[in-house]
Symmetry: C2
Subunit: 217 residues, 2 copies
Amino acid sequence: MKIGVLGTGPVGQALATRLVELGHDVTMGSRDAANETAAGWAREHGAASGDFRQAAAGAEVVVNATAGSHSSAAVAQAEPAPGIVLLDVSNALDGNFPPGLTVPPGDSTAERLQREHPQAYVVKALNTMNCDVMVRPELVPGEHDVFVAGDDAAAKAAVTGLLRQFGWPEAAILDVGPLSAAQGLEAAVLFWVALRMAIGHNRFNFHIVQSGSAPAS
Amino acid sequence: MKIGVLGTGPVGQALATRLVELGHDVTMGSRDAANETAAGWAREHGAASGDFRQAAAGAEVVVNATAGSHSSAAVAQAEPAPGIVLLDVSNALDGNFPPGLTVPPGDSTAERLQREHPQAYVVKALNTMNCDVMVRPELVPGEHDVFVAGDDAAAKAAVTGLLRQFGWPEAAILDVGPLSAAQGLEAAVLFWVALRMAIGHNRFNFHIVQSGSAPAS
Protein backbone atom coordinates (compact mmCIF):
# COMPACT_ATOMS: atom_id res chain seq x y z
CA MET A 1 0.00 0.00 0.00
CA LYS A 2 1.25 3.50 -0.74
CA ILE A 3 1.40 5.35 2.57
CA GLY A 4 2.56 8.85 3.42
CA VAL A 5 3.76 9.53 6.95
CA LEU A 6 3.68 13.17 7.97
CA GLY A 7 6.23 13.90 10.68
CA THR A 8 9.87 13.05 11.27
CA GLY A 9 9.86 12.72 15.07
CA PRO A 10 9.96 9.48 17.06
CA VAL A 11 6.30 8.71 16.28
CA GLY A 12 6.70 9.28 12.54
CA GLN A 13 9.90 7.28 12.46
CA ALA A 14 8.45 4.36 14.41
CA LEU A 15 5.39 4.15 12.18
CA ALA A 16 7.22 4.72 8.89
CA THR A 17 9.91 2.19 9.71
CA ARG A 18 7.42 -0.48 10.68
CA LEU A 19 5.33 0.17 7.57
CA VAL A 20 8.45 -0.28 5.40
CA GLU A 21 9.25 -3.54 7.20
CA LEU A 22 5.74 -4.70 6.40
CA GLY A 23 6.37 -4.09 2.72
CA HIS A 24 4.48 -0.85 2.20
CA ASP A 25 5.62 1.90 -0.13
CA VAL A 26 6.31 4.68 2.36
CA THR A 27 7.18 8.34 1.92
CA MET A 28 8.11 10.32 5.02
CA GLY A 29 6.94 13.91 4.75
CA SER A 30 8.18 17.04 6.42
CA ARG A 31 7.52 20.74 6.02
CA ASP A 32 10.71 21.17 4.00
CA ALA A 33 11.55 18.63 1.27
CA ALA A 34 15.22 19.07 2.15
CA ASN A 35 14.65 17.97 5.76
CA GLU A 36 17.76 15.96 6.61
CA THR A 37 16.07 13.73 9.21
CA ALA A 38 13.55 12.53 6.66
CA ALA A 39 16.16 12.13 3.92
CA GLY A 40 18.46 10.20 6.25
CA TRP A 41 15.63 7.93 7.36
CA ALA A 42 14.65 7.30 3.72
CA ARG A 43 18.23 6.41 2.74
CA GLU A 44 18.58 4.04 5.68
CA HIS A 45 15.30 2.24 4.98
CA GLY A 46 15.23 2.27 1.20
CA ALA A 47 12.16 4.48 1.29
CA ALA A 48 11.28 7.96 0.09
CA SER A 49 11.05 11.39 1.64
CA GLY A 50 9.66 14.72 0.55
CA ASP A 51 7.57 17.61 1.69
CA PHE A 52 4.12 17.00 3.15
CA ARG A 53 2.50 17.30 -0.27
CA GLN A 54 4.90 14.85 -1.87
CA ALA A 55 4.35 12.37 0.97
CA ALA A 56 0.58 12.45 0.50
CA ALA A 57 0.59 12.41 -3.31
CA GLY A 58 -0.93 9.17 -4.56
CA ALA A 59 -1.10 7.66 -1.08
CA GLU A 60 -4.06 5.52 -0.05
CA VAL A 61 -3.40 6.25 3.60
CA VAL A 62 -1.77 9.34 5.09
CA VAL A 63 -0.61 9.08 8.69
CA ASN A 64 -0.56 12.33 10.63
CA ALA A 65 2.33 11.89 13.06
CA THR A 66 3.05 15.58 13.50
CA ALA A 67 2.58 17.32 16.83
CA GLY A 68 -1.10 18.07 17.25
CA SER A 69 -0.53 21.79 17.56
CA HIS A 70 1.08 21.78 14.08
CA SER A 71 -1.19 19.24 12.46
CA SER A 72 -3.60 21.63 10.79
CA ALA A 73 -0.77 23.35 8.96
CA ALA A 74 0.95 20.09 8.05
CA VAL A 75 -2.16 18.39 6.68
CA ALA A 76 -3.17 21.54 4.80
CA GLN A 77 0.23 21.49 3.10
CA ALA A 78 -0.25 17.80 2.35
CA GLU A 79 -3.45 18.55 0.38
CA PRO A 80 -4.93 15.07 0.94
CA ALA A 81 -6.77 13.82 -2.13
CA PRO A 82 -10.52 13.13 -1.97
CA GLY A 83 -11.28 9.76 -0.42
CA ILE A 84 -7.94 9.39 1.28
CA VAL A 85 -7.78 7.74 4.70
CA LEU A 86 -6.13 10.13 7.14
CA LEU A 87 -4.95 8.21 10.18
CA ASP A 88 -4.45 10.78 12.91
CA VAL A 89 -2.18 9.60 15.73
CA SER A 90 -1.39 13.08 17.02
CA ASN A 91 -1.69 14.67 20.45
CA ALA A 92 -1.95 18.43 20.89
CA LEU A 93 0.01 19.03 24.10
CA ASP A 94 0.71 22.54 25.31
CA GLY A 95 4.30 22.02 26.44
CA ASN A 96 3.62 22.53 30.16
CA PHE A 97 4.02 19.91 32.83
CA PRO A 98 1.67 18.30 33.60
CA PRO A 99 0.58 18.94 30.03
CA GLY A 100 -2.73 20.33 28.93
CA LEU A 101 -4.33 20.05 25.52
CA THR A 102 -4.29 22.98 23.11
CA VAL A 103 -7.66 21.91 21.68
CA PRO A 104 -10.65 23.41 23.54
CA PRO A 105 -13.32 21.30 25.31
CA GLY A 106 -15.79 19.83 22.84
CA ASP A 107 -13.27 19.52 20.06
CA SER A 108 -10.32 17.33 19.04
CA THR A 109 -7.45 17.52 16.61
CA ALA A 110 -9.03 14.70 14.62
CA GLU A 111 -12.39 16.46 14.26
CA ARG A 112 -10.67 19.70 13.31
CA LEU A 113 -8.73 17.90 10.58
CA GLN A 114 -11.98 16.34 9.38
CA ARG A 115 -13.68 19.74 9.20
CA GLU A 116 -10.71 21.16 7.34
CA HIS A 117 -10.65 18.22 4.91
CA PRO A 118 -14.25 17.04 4.51
CA GLN A 119 -13.28 14.97 1.46
CA ALA A 120 -10.86 12.86 3.56
CA TYR A 121 -11.80 10.05 5.95
CA VAL A 122 -10.18 10.85 9.27
CA VAL A 123 -9.62 7.97 11.68
CA LYS A 124 -8.18 8.48 15.16
CA ALA A 125 -6.08 5.67 16.58
CA LEU A 126 -2.83 4.83 18.35
CA ASN A 127 -2.42 8.16 20.14
CA THR A 128 -2.98 6.57 23.56
CA MET A 129 0.39 4.83 23.86
CA ASN A 130 4.13 5.07 23.30
CA CYS A 131 5.16 4.89 19.65
CA ASP A 132 7.17 1.70 19.97
CA VAL A 133 4.17 -0.03 21.51
CA MET A 134 2.00 1.28 18.65
CA VAL A 135 3.86 -0.78 16.10
CA ARG A 136 5.00 -3.68 18.32
CA PRO A 137 2.23 -4.40 20.82
CA GLU A 138 4.19 -7.41 22.03
CA LEU A 139 6.50 -4.98 23.87
CA VAL A 140 3.81 -4.94 26.55
CA PRO A 141 2.92 -8.44 27.79
CA GLY A 142 -0.61 -9.76 27.99
CA GLU A 143 -3.85 -8.20 26.91
CA HIS A 144 -3.96 -4.46 26.20
CA ASP A 145 -5.87 -2.36 23.75
CA VAL A 146 -5.86 0.10 20.87
CA PHE A 147 -8.83 2.38 20.15
CA VAL A 148 -10.23 3.41 16.80
CA ALA A 149 -12.66 6.30 16.20
CA GLY A 150 -14.02 7.57 12.92
CA ASP A 151 -17.14 8.28 10.94
CA ASP A 152 -16.44 6.02 7.93
CA ALA A 153 -16.60 2.25 8.33
CA ALA A 154 -14.37 1.48 5.35
CA ALA A 155 -11.70 3.89 6.53
CA LYS A 156 -11.80 2.34 9.99
CA ALA A 157 -11.48 -1.09 8.40
CA ALA A 158 -8.39 0.07 6.48
CA VAL A 159 -6.82 1.30 9.71
CA THR A 160 -7.79 -1.87 11.54
CA GLY A 161 -6.04 -3.81 8.77
CA LEU A 162 -2.83 -1.91 9.43
CA LEU A 163 -3.18 -2.47 13.17
CA ARG A 164 -3.53 -6.21 12.56
CA GLN A 165 -0.32 -6.07 10.49
CA PHE A 166 1.42 -4.33 13.39
CA GLY A 167 0.49 -7.34 15.50
CA TRP A 168 -2.63 -6.17 17.33
CA PRO A 169 -4.96 -9.11 18.00
CA GLU A 170 -8.49 -8.57 16.76
CA ALA A 171 -9.86 -8.62 20.32
CA ALA A 172 -7.49 -5.80 21.28
CA ILE A 173 -8.82 -3.39 18.65
CA LEU A 174 -11.74 -1.47 20.17
CA ASP A 175 -13.97 0.51 17.85
CA VAL A 176 -15.09 3.40 20.03
CA GLY A 177 -17.50 4.77 17.46
CA PRO A 178 -17.71 8.13 15.73
CA LEU A 179 -14.87 10.57 15.28
CA SER A 180 -16.21 12.67 18.15
CA ALA A 181 -14.93 9.89 20.43
CA ALA A 182 -11.48 11.21 19.54
CA GLN A 183 -12.14 13.81 22.23
CA GLY A 184 -11.93 11.01 24.76
CA LEU A 185 -8.93 9.37 23.09
CA GLU A 186 -7.05 12.67 22.99
CA ALA A 187 -7.84 13.37 26.65
CA ALA A 188 -6.43 9.94 27.45
CA VAL A 189 -2.91 11.15 26.74
CA LEU A 190 -3.06 13.31 29.88
CA PHE A 191 -3.96 10.20 31.87
CA TRP A 192 -1.10 8.40 30.09
CA VAL A 193 1.39 11.08 31.11
CA ALA A 194 0.36 10.80 34.78
CA LEU A 195 0.85 7.03 34.59
CA ARG A 196 4.15 7.45 32.74
CA MET A 197 5.55 9.49 35.59
CA ALA A 198 4.44 6.95 38.19
CA ILE A 199 5.60 3.88 36.24
CA GLY A 200 8.94 5.37 35.24
CA HIS A 201 9.01 4.06 31.69
CA ASN A 202 6.74 3.98 28.66
CA ARG A 203 6.27 0.25 28.08
CA PHE A 204 2.71 0.14 29.34
CA ASN A 205 -0.75 0.41 27.90
CA PHE A 206 -4.42 0.52 28.76
CA HIS A 207 -6.53 -2.60 28.91
CA ILE A 208 -10.27 -2.15 29.23
CA VAL A 209 -11.71 -4.85 31.46
CA GLN A 210 -15.43 -5.28 31.27
CA SER A 211 -18.17 -7.35 32.72
CA GLY A 212 -19.75 -9.62 30.14
CA SER A 213 -23.18 -8.37 31.10
CA ALA A 214 -24.75 -4.99 31.65
CA PRO A 215 -25.84 -4.00 35.14
CA ALA A 216 -29.30 -5.24 36.10
CA SER A 217 -30.70 -1.81 36.89
CA MET B 1 -14.09 6.09 61.36
CA LYS B 2 -16.19 9.26 61.23
CA ILE B 3 -16.69 10.12 57.60
CA GLY B 4 -18.61 12.90 55.92
CA VAL B 5 -19.83 12.36 52.37
CA LEU B 6 -20.62 15.56 50.49
CA GLY B 7 -23.17 14.94 47.75
CA THR B 8 -26.49 13.11 47.51
CA GLY B 9 -26.28 11.87 43.91
CA PRO B 10 -25.53 8.30 42.79
CA VAL B 11 -21.81 8.68 43.63
CA GLY B 12 -22.45 10.04 47.11
CA GLN B 13 -25.09 7.40 47.78
CA ALA B 14 -22.90 4.52 46.58
CA LEU B 15 -19.95 5.64 48.71
CA ALA B 16 -21.95 6.54 51.80
CA THR B 17 -23.94 3.30 51.71
CA ARG B 18 -20.85 1.15 51.38
CA LEU B 19 -19.08 3.06 54.16
CA VAL B 20 -22.05 2.42 56.46
CA GLU B 21 -21.98 -1.27 55.56
CA LEU B 22 -18.31 -1.32 56.52
CA GLY B 23 -19.20 0.01 59.95
CA HIS B 24 -18.16 3.64 59.57
CA ASP B 25 -19.99 6.53 61.19
CA VAL B 26 -21.26 8.35 58.11
CA THR B 27 -23.03 11.67 57.65
CA MET B 28 -24.31 12.53 54.18
CA GLY B 29 -24.07 16.25 53.51
CA SER B 30 -25.97 18.47 51.14
CA ARG B 31 -26.27 22.21 50.62
CA ASP B 32 -29.51 22.33 52.56
CA ALA B 33 -29.79 20.44 55.87
CA ALA B 34 -33.45 19.72 55.01
CA ASN B 35 -32.51 17.91 51.77
CA GLU B 36 -35.00 15.06 51.55
CA THR B 37 -32.74 12.75 49.52
CA ALA B 38 -30.08 12.88 52.21
CA ALA B 39 -32.60 12.53 55.04
CA GLY B 40 -34.28 9.59 53.34
CA TRP B 41 -30.95 7.89 52.74
CA ALA B 42 -29.99 8.43 56.39
CA ARG B 43 -33.25 6.95 57.65
CA GLU B 44 -32.92 3.94 55.40
CA HIS B 45 -29.33 3.22 56.44
CA GLY B 46 -29.39 4.21 60.09
CA ALA B 47 -26.93 6.98 59.36
CA ALA B 48 -26.96 10.77 59.63
CA SER B 49 -27.54 13.65 57.28
CA GLY B 50 -27.04 17.38 57.45
CA ASP B 51 -25.68 20.34 55.58
CA PHE B 52 -22.14 20.24 54.23
CA ARG B 53 -20.73 21.76 57.40
CA GLN B 54 -22.53 19.27 59.64
CA ALA B 55 -21.30 16.37 57.46
CA ALA B 56 -17.69 17.48 57.80
CA ALA B 57 -17.82 18.40 61.50
CA GLY B 58 -15.57 16.05 63.46
CA ALA B 59 -14.94 13.79 60.47
CA GLU B 60 -11.52 12.26 59.91
CA VAL B 61 -12.22 11.88 56.21
CA VAL B 62 -14.49 14.01 54.06
CA VAL B 63 -15.43 12.58 50.66
CA ASN B 64 -16.23 15.14 47.98
CA ALA B 65 -18.84 13.42 45.82
CA THR B 66 -20.42 16.60 44.51
CA ALA B 67 -20.29 17.51 40.83
CA GLY B 68 -16.89 19.02 40.13
CA SER B 69 -18.36 22.28 38.93
CA HIS B 70 -20.03 22.75 42.34
CA SER B 71 -17.24 21.31 44.48
CA SER B 72 -15.56 24.57 45.42
CA ALA B 73 -18.79 25.95 46.86
CA ALA B 74 -19.67 22.68 48.60
CA VAL B 75 -16.28 22.20 50.24
CA ALA B 76 -16.14 25.87 51.25
CA GLN B 77 -19.48 25.41 53.01
CA ALA B 78 -18.13 22.24 54.65
CA GLU B 79 -15.27 24.24 56.26
CA PRO B 80 -12.97 21.18 56.54
CA ALA B 81 -10.98 21.22 59.78
CA PRO B 82 -7.18 21.46 59.67
CA GLY B 83 -5.55 18.11 59.00
CA ILE B 84 -8.65 16.52 57.54
CA VAL B 85 -8.31 14.06 54.64
CA LEU B 86 -10.40 15.31 51.73
CA LEU B 87 -10.99 12.46 49.30
CA ASP B 88 -12.01 14.07 46.02
CA VAL B 89 -13.83 11.71 43.67
CA SER B 90 -15.40 14.47 41.59
CA ASN B 91 -15.40 15.18 37.87
CA ALA B 92 -16.05 18.65 36.48
CA LEU B 93 -18.00 17.93 33.30
CA ASP B 94 -19.50 20.76 31.28
CA GLY B 95 -22.80 19.07 30.42
CA ASN B 96 -22.15 18.83 26.69
CA PHE B 97 -21.84 15.60 24.75
CA PRO B 98 -19.17 14.48 24.33
CA PRO B 99 -18.36 16.23 27.59
CA GLY B 100 -15.50 18.61 28.20
CA LEU B 101 -13.99 19.61 31.53
CA THR B 102 -14.82 22.95 33.12
CA VAL B 103 -11.35 23.11 34.68
CA PRO B 104 -8.76 24.80 32.41
CA PRO B 105 -5.62 23.03 31.14
CA GLY B 106 -2.92 22.87 33.80
CA ASP B 107 -5.37 22.65 36.67
CA SER B 108 -7.73 20.13 38.28
CA THR B 109 -10.64 20.21 40.70
CA ALA B 110 -8.49 18.43 43.25
CA GLU B 111 -5.67 21.00 43.07
CA ARG B 112 -8.15 23.85 43.23
CA LEU B 113 -9.68 22.36 46.39
CA GLN B 114 -6.19 21.99 47.85
CA ARG B 115 -5.37 25.65 47.12
CA GLU B 116 -8.67 26.72 48.67
CA HIS B 117 -8.09 24.54 51.75
CA PRO B 118 -4.32 24.42 52.32
CA GLN B 119 -4.85 23.00 55.81
CA ALA B 120 -6.61 19.90 54.38
CA TYR B 121 -4.93 16.92 52.72
CA VAL B 122 -6.58 16.44 49.36
CA VAL B 123 -6.35 13.00 47.77
CA LYS B 124 -7.77 12.27 44.32
CA ALA B 125 -9.06 8.76 43.70
CA LEU B 126 -11.96 6.73 42.30
CA ASN B 127 -13.12 9.33 39.74
CA THR B 128 -12.08 7.12 36.82
CA MET B 129 -14.92 4.60 37.06
CA ASN B 130 -18.62 4.05 37.66
CA CYS B 131 -19.69 4.56 41.28
CA ASP B 132 -20.84 0.98 41.82
CA VAL B 133 -17.46 -0.29 40.66
CA MET B 134 -15.76 2.17 43.04
CA VAL B 135 -17.15 0.41 46.09
CA ARG B 136 -17.49 -3.14 44.68
CA PRO B 137 -14.55 -3.75 42.36
CA GLU B 138 -15.67 -7.37 41.99
CA LEU B 139 -18.45 -6.10 39.68
CA VAL B 140 -15.76 -6.06 37.00
CA PRO B 141 -14.00 -9.42 36.65
CA GLY B 142 -10.25 -9.86 36.66
CA GLU B 143 -7.52 -7.32 37.20
CA HIS B 144 -8.35 -3.63 36.98
CA ASP B 145 -7.09 -0.59 38.78
CA VAL B 146 -7.79 2.42 40.93
CA PHE B 147 -5.50 5.45 40.97
CA VAL B 148 -4.49 7.61 43.93
CA ALA B 149 -2.87 11.06 43.70
CA GLY B 150 -1.95 13.39 46.54
CA ASP B 151 0.85 15.31 48.18
CA ASP B 152 0.61 13.78 51.67
CA ALA B 153 1.71 10.19 52.21
CA ALA B 154 -0.34 9.66 55.37
CA ALA B 155 -3.50 10.97 53.71
CA LYS B 156 -2.92 8.68 50.73
CA ALA B 157 -2.43 5.78 53.14
CA ALA B 158 -5.77 6.59 54.80
CA VAL B 159 -7.49 6.56 51.42
CA THR B 160 -5.72 3.36 50.42
CA GLY B 161 -7.03 1.81 53.62
CA LEU B 162 -10.59 2.65 52.61
CA LEU B 163 -9.99 1.28 49.11
CA ARG B 164 -8.77 -1.99 50.63
CA GLN B 165 -11.97 -2.13 52.69
CA PHE B 166 -13.99 -1.64 49.49
CA GLY B 167 -12.28 -4.76 48.16
CA TRP B 168 -9.50 -3.36 46.01
CA PRO B 169 -6.50 -5.71 46.04
CA GLU B 170 -3.25 -4.02 46.99
CA ALA B 171 -1.81 -4.61 43.50
CA ALA B 172 -4.77 -2.79 41.95
CA ILE B 173 -4.14 0.45 43.86
CA LEU B 174 -1.73 2.56 41.83
CA ASP B 175 -0.13 5.55 43.51
CA VAL B 176 0.32 7.99 40.64
CA GLY B 177 2.24 10.50 42.73
CA PRO B 178 1.56 14.13 43.55
CA LEU B 179 -1.80 15.83 43.48
CA SER B 180 -0.91 17.42 40.13
CA ALA B 181 -1.39 13.93 38.65
CA ALA B 182 -5.10 14.55 39.30
CA GLN B 183 -5.01 16.47 36.02
CA GLY B 184 -4.46 13.18 34.27
CA LEU B 185 -7.00 11.31 36.39
CA GLU B 186 -9.64 13.97 35.74
CA ALA B 187 -8.94 13.92 31.99
CA ALA B 188 -9.44 10.16 32.10
CA VAL B 189 -13.16 10.61 32.60
CA LEU B 190 -13.46 11.89 29.03
CA PHE B 191 -11.75 8.69 27.86
CA TRP B 192 -14.14 6.75 30.10
CA VAL B 193 -17.18 8.40 28.53
CA ALA B 194 -16.00 7.48 25.01
CA LEU B 195 -15.56 3.88 26.14
CA ARG B 196 -18.91 3.92 27.94
CA MET B 197 -20.67 4.80 24.71
CA ALA B 198 -18.91 2.02 22.80
CA ILE B 199 -19.35 -0.65 25.48
CA GLY B 200 -22.98 0.18 26.18
CA HIS B 201 -22.85 -0.17 29.96
CA ASN B 202 -20.72 1.06 32.82
CA ARG B 203 -19.38 -2.18 34.31
CA PHE B 204 -15.84 -1.73 33.02
CA ASN B 205 -12.60 -0.28 34.22
CA PHE B 206 -9.04 0.51 33.24
CA HIS B 207 -6.23 -1.92 33.81
CA ILE B 208 -2.71 -0.68 33.28
CA VAL B 209 -0.59 -3.40 31.73
CA GLN B 210 3.12 -2.85 31.93
CA SER B 211 6.32 -4.50 30.93
CA GLY B 212 8.35 -5.59 33.93
CA SER B 213 11.41 -3.82 32.57
CA ALA B 214 12.11 -0.41 31.17
CA PRO B 215 13.05 -0.08 27.49
CA ALA B 216 16.73 -0.65 26.77
CA SER B 217 17.27 2.72 25.15
